[in-house]
Homo-oligomer: 207 residues x 2
């Protein structure tokens, strides 16, 4: 059963109001917005919308009980906004919190695989240095700043003023950074390198 034009107007207003204000409009507010002079005018529409199953009244007493059925109820404590960078800014980790983020992406914690602390960010990968580890040019990676990364983790490091991804390995008690691409078999001693963080999640968009 489809909505009439008027019902859709009212429905759209409720959805917009909820998005804007985080709660439903009251009947008088709907009246004012549509210049309907009687609360019953609105009540009729609400009854019709409820009969058609697109809204529902919350089962409690009180005001503002309209709920939009189609609205997904996202437990927002499981969503995390991460800043997106095109490259890793040099300098101490604190400085690039809010300064040069190009945008923000929302991540579901179950997809992220961990609970991000302050300082996590998304980075667009440039270069194929970790191709054999399944990280390609153009992928997005979630970086978690870590004071002490473990052997075997993939880290973002500043090498010669440029940030790249490498795997942190330990050979005969010494730390190295290793590219995983048959074409770049370099090994960098970790000594004078700044490790910015470890890669926790990889995301790739395909055509």
């Amino acid at each position: 059963m489809t909505l009439t034009d008027r019902q859709r107007e009212i429905y759209d207003y409720i959805v917009a109001f909820r998005r804007e204000n985080g709660c439903s409009p009251s009947i008088p507010e709907i009246q004012k917005h549509f210049d309907i002079r009687s609360p019953n005018g609105v009540a009729g529409h609400l009854a019709a919308l409820e009969a058609k199953g697109v809204i529902r009244m919350a089962d409690r007493i009180g005001s503002r009980r309209i709920e939009v059925v189609a609205e997904k109820q996202v437990p927002s404590e499981l969503l995390h906004a991460l800043p997106v960078f095109g490259h890793i800014p040099a300098g101490p980790p604190q400085e690039f919190q809010s300064t040069s983020a190009e945008s923000t992406a929302i991540f579901d914690e179950t997809m992220l695989g961990f609970k991000p602390k302050e300082g996590c960010f998304l980075l667009k990968v440039r270069g194929e240095s970790m191709k054999d580890a399944g990280i390609l040019n153009g992928d997005m990676v979630v970086i978690e700043p870590t004071p002490s990364p473990a052997a075997g983790q993939i880290v973002a490091a500043l090498i010669d003023g440029e940030s790249t991804l490498k795997r942190l390995v330990r050979v005969k008690g010494r730390w190295f950074l290793k590219a995983e691409n048959a074409d770049y078999p370099e090994l960098y001693p970790r000594a004078d390198l700044v490790v910015q963080g470890v890669v926790r999640t990889v995301v790739r968009k395909l055509g």
Copy 2:
């Protein structure tokens, strides 16, 4: 300035109520929950919480105007819930809409890279058949059912009753499915295969 124990209890209740009901509790509702006999008992807490900057009153007249400052206002039309499957169920695409989903994941449209239509789902990858395309065992991929996939796209296909990922290629006018792993150089003619959909997004969680 930190909250007192009591203020934190009330704050937590407001946050929980908002998550549960999509709108703030009224003062009488807070009273009932904490067994506070005077509306002013609650009003004092609200004033303190507002002074400390953790809540704010919506600037409109009316009821239920408490807003939680820390709450991220996510434009929910850019978030999409996708069902998660451990494997691709056989059978017509419509049948596995809500039947056997193991869970649901929320995706930001900007991370997804496209606006998902009905029928999209997340699939846990088993096997290394697309290793050289950067898709590894255990990765999650977003599958979009497509009636006519294009050459070069990675598709999920039912081969010998088992679903795997392959790249769709066209050689001398004929369609084939090709694994991208030096160890499995098979080419499957497309003829008798059911293509379930194309891979649009790849997500990998790392330790």
